[in-house]
C-alpha cells in the first residue's frame, strides 16, 4: 500500500534525533512488547509479513506520532485478535484493570521448554528463503525496470523506485513473497534481487552527486528492459 510508512524521500519530518548512550529498552513495557512479539510470532501465531502490514494500516497520523514499540503493540493486538487468539473485549477489560492497578503483577507461568525453543530461534533464526526449481529470470548486470504498481495490500516495493530503471547487482535466491504472505495467500517464493539505482534516476535534479541506492526487490516487482 502507498502508506505513510513508505517514507523514502519524504520531506518535512525534521532533524534526526540521536540519543547518546541509548538503552536497549526505554522502559519495562517496551521489554514486554518485544518479548511478546518473539514469543507469539516465534510460535507461528502470525507471520512477519502480517506483523509488518498490521503496522502499515495504522491511522497515518498515529503512525507518525507513536513510538516504535507502540507500533508493535498495535500490530500484535490486531493480529492476535484477527486470528481469534484473544478477544478485543477481554483485552480492553484487562487493560482497564492494569490502568487502575499499574503495579499489579502479570501472572507468572513457567515453560522452560518454550523458553529453550525461543532462545534457539533467537540464536538460530528462521529463514524465509525457500528452494525453488525455477531459474532466476535476471542475472547480475541485467538492466531492469521496476513495475509501476500501487497495490492496496502489503508490499515491500518502496514507492520511490517504482517505474525507475536500475541494474541487478546480486541474485539472492528465492524468498517468501510478502505481498501474498501478509494476506494469507501462501508463500509463493520468488527470487530476490539487489538492484542498484543511480540517484539521478531516482531523484532527478535533486540527487546528490556520486550516489547510488540499492534496493532488494522480488522478481515480480521487476520487468526486463
Amino acid at each position: 500500500m502507498n502508506g505513510v510508512h513508505d517514507l523514502g524521500g519524504m520531506h518535512g519530518l525534521g532533524r534526526v534525533d540521536v540519543e547518546d548512550y541509548e538503552p536497549v529498552f526505554h522502559n519495562p513495557w517496551e521489554k514486554l512488547v518485544f518479548g511478546t512479539m518473539v514469543a507469539t510470532m516465534g510460535q507461528g501465531l502470525y507471520n512477519l509479513d502480517e506483523f509488518r502490514h498490521g503496522i502499515e494500516v495504522m491511522e497515518p497520523a498515529h503512525y507518525l506520532t507513536s513510538s516504535y514499540y507502540e507500533h508493535w503493540l498495535e500490530t500484535i493486538e490486531k493480529n492476535l485478535i484477527e486470528k481469534g487468539v484473544i478477544d478485543r473485549g477481554e483485552l480492553d477489560a484487562r487493560t482497564q484493570e492494569f490502568l487502575k492497578n499499574p503495579e499489579a503483577p502479570v501472572p507468572q507461568r513457567e515453560d522452560p521448554e518454550l523458553a529453550d525453543r525461543l532462545l534457539q530461534l533467537v540464536h538460530g533464526g528462521a529463514s524465509s528463503r525457500r528452494e525453488v526449481s525455477a531459474k532466476p529470470r535476471f542475472e547480475a548486470g541485467d538492466r531492469v525496470r521496476v513495475r509501476n504498481v500501487h497495490p492496496h495490500g502489503h508490499t515491500r516495493l518502496p514507492q520511490y523506485v517504482r517505474d525507475k530503471q536500475g541494474v541487478v547487482e546480486r541474485v539472492y535466491g528465492a524468498f517468501v513473497l510478502p505481498d501474498k504472505h501478509a494476506h494469507g495467500e501462501g508463500e509463493n517464493p520468488e527470487y530476490v534481487y539487489c538492484v542498484r539505482f543511480d540517484a539521478e534516476e531516482v531523484w532527478g535534479d535533486s540527487a546528490e552527486p556520486r550516489e547510488a541506492v540499492s534496493v532488494d526487490l522480488w522478481e515480480s516487482y521487476l520487468e526486463s528492459l
Partner: protein
C-alpha cells in the same frame, strides 16, 4: 509561553504500559506464552546480543585477510565461525568502506537491522526522519546529523533493507592501529561505524 499542543502519544504512556501487561497476562493465562520464555528473550537482547558482536567480526576482518574475504563473500559463514548468528540476520551481507566508497544502511519501509551483529536498533534508525532522508540526501544527513563528512570524490552507496537481507558495514581500519590485538581493535568499532553513519574510534583517543 507557548500555546502549541503536545502530541497525544506522550500522554498515554500509562495506558500503553497497561495494554502491554494486559496482553501478556491474557497470553500467559491461555498457556500460549510463559513469563520465563519472555524474560529470557528480553535478557538475550539486553545482555548478550549487541554491537560488541559486530565489533568482533570487524576486528577479525581487520586482522585476518582470509576471514575478511569470507566475510565479504558469505557473511553468515564468517560470523558463524565466531558463533554469531540468529533472528533478523539469517541472510547478512557486509559492504566494505574504502577511501573511494562510503556505505550507509537504512530501512525506509520499517526498521530492518542485522540484530545478531548490532543488537536492536536505536530509535533514530527506526524513526521517520532518518528513514525518509537517507535515501535522498545521504551526504547531507551524514554531515548534518552525524558530523560525518564524506569526501566529494568518494561514492556514496545507500542500502535500503527492503527484503530479508540484512546489511552491515565493514569500516576502514583506522590508521595507527598496527600491532593491535583483535580485542583492542574491537574496542574501536562503534555501532554507528557498522551502520555507516560514523567512523571507528580514533586509537589515539582510546589509549
Amino acid at each position: 509561553m507557548s500555546v502549541e499542543r503536545t502530541s497525544d502519544s506522550q500522554a498515554s504512556e500509562a495506558e500503553i504500559a497497561a495494554r502491554a501487561k494486559a496482553l501478556e497476562s491474557l497470553l500467559v493465562e491461555k498457556g500460549l506464552v510463559s513469563t520465563d520464555a519472555i524474560d529470557r528473550v528480553i535478557s538475550a537482547y539486553e545482555s548478550d546480543i549487541g554491537p560488541m558482536l559486530g565489533a568482533q567480526v570487524v576486528a577479525r576482518a581487520w586482522s585476518d585477510p582470509e576471514f575478511k574475504k569470507l566475510l565479504l563473500e558469505d557473511a553468515n559463514a564468517a560470523c558463524e565461525q565466531l558463533g554469531i548468528g540468529g533472528m533478523q540476520g539469517e541472510h547478512m551481507v557486509v559492504v566494505e568502506n574504502s577511501a573511494q566508497v562510503h556505505n550507509v544502511v537504512v530501512c525506509t519501509l520499517c526498521s530492518c537491522y542485522p540484530w545478531p551483529v548490532l543488537g536492536l536498533p536505536p530509535n533514530w534508525y527506526k524513526y521517520p526522519q532518518y528513514r525518509s532522508r537517507t535515501v535522498m540526501e545521504p551526504r547531507e544527513v551524514l554531515k548534518e546529523e552525524f558530523g560525518l563528512g564524506i569526501d566529494e570524490s568518494a561514492d556514496v552507496r545507500v542500502w535500503d533493507s527492503s527484503a530479508e537481507i540484512r546489511y552491515f558495514v565493514l569500516p576502514e581500519r583506522p590508521e595507527g592501529t598496527e600491532g593491535m590485538s583483535e580485542e583492542e581493535l574491537a574496542s574501536l568499532v562503534t555501532r554507528d561505524s557498522m551502520i555507516g553513519v560514523g567512523e571507528p574510534r580514533d586509537p589515539e583517543e582510546t589509549r
